[in-house]
């Protein structure tokens, strides 16, 4: 591969990302983003993988601005240090089921997939993911054990926080107990249509520790709110519901809450208190084309604090490298889930608990809230 060829391909990649950026902006006005999230592959790039050279690594994300963010802050720094390798972004959405069908068909095209703690555990249990090789990936590069799991590691963090509309709630809610208090805080609430984080919030609202989750009690607790709940399934939907005043408060991802707080001139606010801090786990599908280089890429993503801070600026994803928090500019600290002041107030998710229980508990949760 000649240098200029790599360069031109990269330029193309950036261009593609910018096109998506433009579309992402459109989407905020309701349509495209939800389309992307619902259709999944709506904005998908054909992975540039088909061109034949084996010396590339394919990272798979969920669309939106991730192509640009992960390309600039994960792919480029790695490619710069590893001449002859390039990192390609694919935004077709690495759902656990998709990874499974790819691995089982024996034609794996993906090297590193943006998954979750429970997804990593589930895939590992089904023998569909490769264990992280911690002789290559350095455990010391993450601030807490929750970011370095057996079947995946997290170069970024995110949090499910309590977000509220201050124009509708004169007294600000301070935690999940207030979320469940319909007398003091009447109105519609938002939860993600997923047991993860919903049940933790329910446990905390009862004044109990988040783990181990008492599934029966937590489900009953969610049931109490049922008439006042709207469930969201993708981030843009949650943002839209808050922005248009459909809900007075919600458990939403901190990235969306941050955008809302900035863009609503303070009408919509969020609190870190009792937020559920989660690792943005990347997994390596078994039999990935790039082999051990995917481990190196993952290691590089974890090891570099500066790009992680850059990603925080662009997408809001929190860094996980221990040296990163100090590098965050003052105006961004408020929005960083792993800033020591913010992290202290949150509860870290127990990925192992969910890995063992997700399939059953989530199915029960969905049964309980639907119908």
């Amino acid at each position: 591969m000649r240098d200029d060829e790599i360069q031109s391909f990269h330029q193309d990649c950036v261009e593609l990302a910018q096109e998506k950026h433009a579309r992402g902006q459109l989407s905020r006005r309701q349509l495209m983003q939800a389309m992307a999230a619902l259709g999944g592959a709506g904005l998908a790039t054909a992975s540039a993988h088909a061109q034949g050279t084996p010396r590339e690594l394919v990272m798979v994300n969920w669309g939106g601005l991730a192509n640009q963010g992960f390309g600039n802050f994960y792919g480029d720094p790695f490619a710069a240090e590893n001449p002859g390798w390039r990192v390609v972004q694919d935004s077709s959405g690495p759902a656990t089921g998709r990874i499974r069908s790819m691995v089982e068909s024996g034609r794996v095209a993906w090297d590193l997939c943006d998954s979750s703690a429970s997804g990593a555990k589930l895939l590992g249990g089904l023998n569909l993911a490769t264990k992280v090789d911690y002789s290559i990936v350095d455990r010391a590069n993450v601030i807490a054990p929750v970011f370095a799991l057996e079947y995946g590691a997290a170069p970024y963090s995110f949090s499910s926080v309590l977000c509220y509309d201050s124009s509708k709630l004169p007294t600000p809610p301070t935690g999940w107990a207030d979320f469940w208090n319909l007398q003091r805080f009447p109105g519609t609430r938002l939860l993600r249509r997923d047991a993860v984080c919903s049940l933790e919030a329910a446990m905390i609202s009862m004044g109990r520790p988040a783990y181990p989750i008492d599934v029966r009690a937590a489900m009953r607790r969610v049931g109490e709110l049922r008439r006042n709940l709207v469930f969201w399934t993708n981030g843009s939907e949650s943002e839209q519901l808050m922005r248009t005043g459909e809900a007075v408060m919600g458990q939403v991802w901190h990235t969306r809450a941050s955008v809302l707080e900035r863009e609503s001139n303070g009408r919509i606010k969020f609190i870190w208190n009792q937020g559920i801090l989660q690792p943005g786990i990347f997994v390596i599908p078994r039999g990935n084309p790039g082999g051990v280089m995917a481990q190196r890429l993952l290691g590089s993503m974890l090891a570099k604090p500066e790009p992680q801070v850059g990603l925080l600026g662009l997408l809001g994803n929190g860094p996980t490298n221990p040296r990163a928090a100090a590098l965050v500019p003052a105006e961004l600290k408020r929005f960083n889930p792993t800033d020591p002041a913010n992290e202290r107030q949150q509860v870290a998710i127990d990925g192992n608990w969910w890995g063992d229980n997700y399939q059953q508990v989530n199915a029960d949760f969905i049964d309980a809230i639907t119908g």
């Binding site: 349509l31 619902l38 656990t96 709940l229 248009t244 989530n362 639907t370 119908g371």
Partner: protein
């Protein structure tokens, strides 16, 4: 024309005629048939087969139909919403088709255009348009509140009502077209004759027009109901996450929870339910009408 059409139609319900003279023609479509089998039918069967091979070989997944409250609820919800949607879409569609059928030829063209235009708009766009109209601060609620008719916004969306509104909107054209086709075949002289014999307008409708349009009504009903069973986007956007219909339930099993056996099971059940509905109705209704041969 109508009598000729009617006689051929009466002959159709018998199974496909197997005259040897036709063998040559069947040979002509054989390549297309084989291609469809290889790239469409076979993969689908392969996926449906997962329902009896995973997690273990056997009918365990189908047993869950009887024991698992979640899948039962998804099925009941789907049937309920499907039936409600069908009923409303048929009612609205019938009125619309009646008006169109009795309009002058020039007016008919405009009416038809108005019926067909929504068909060309993406289902996604329409669902979002309904959100904009129906939400708490949407046009409908704001309008009613400004007019002093209501004090608090009505819950028009994020529930089954929202889903039904969105689905009915989608299905009305599908209800209109087969009914319109059958209404156009009604000989206007029959209506005039009935009037001449002293029947009131209502009696003419009840005893002459309606019975003659009934086959179209049934055909529309089957079409709309079958379509309704497979809705995915509309409930996902307008349902507020609290209503899970079969298609979304299957998606969740396959992509998120990775219980492929269960997902494939419900998919199989859905396919069988649709084929059964078609089989039953093919004895009652001329199915060719569904596929556009009636007009």
């Amino acid at each position: 024309m109508s009598s000729a059409v009617l006689t051929t139609r009466a002959a159709v319900p018998a199974p496909v005629p197997r005259h040897f003279a036709n063998a040559g023609w069947y040979a002509l479509i054989l390549p297309a048939f084989l291609l469809m089998t290889a790239i469409y039918v076979a993969p689908i069967l392969q996926v449906l087969a997962i329902s009896v091979t995973e997690p273990t070989t056997g009918l365990d997944n189908y047993e869950r139909l009887l024991t698992n409250a979640g899948v039962q609820r998804a099925i009941v919800t789907t049937l309920r919403i499907g039936l409600i949607t069908t009923a409303i879409a048929l009612l609205l569609g019938y009125v619309l088709a009646y008006v169109v059928a009795l309009a002058s030829p020039a007016a008919q063209r405009w009416w038809l255009l108005a019926v067909l235009v929504p068909l060309w708009i993406s289902v996604l766009v329409r669902a979002f348009a309904w959100v904009t109209l129906l939400r708490r601060q949407g046009l409908v609620n704001q309008g009613l509140m400004n007019a002093g008719i209501i004090d608090a916004p009505l819950a028009l969306v994020w529930n089954e009502l929202g889903i039904v509104i969105g689905m009915v909107h989608y299905m009305v054209p599908y209800a209109v077209l087969p009914m319109l086709a059958s209404m156009r075949e009604i000989d206007p002289r029959l209506l005039a004759a009935a009037r001449g014999l002293g029947a009131s307008r209502f009696t003419v409708f009840r005893r002459v027009f309606f019975p003659l349009s009934a086959p179209g009504l049934a055909a529309s009903g089957v079409l709309v109901f079958i379509f309704s069973l497979g809705f995915y986007i509309t409930p996902a956007i307008l349902g507020g996450g609290r209503t899970l219909m079969a298609a979304e339930w299957i998606k969740m099993q396959i992509l998120d929870i990775v219980r492929w056996g269960m997902g494939a099971m419900l998919a199989t059940v859905l396919v069988i339910a649709i084929l059964t509905t078609l089989a039953v109705f093919s004895r009652v209704v001329n199915l060719k009408r569904l596929f556009g041969a009636g007009a």
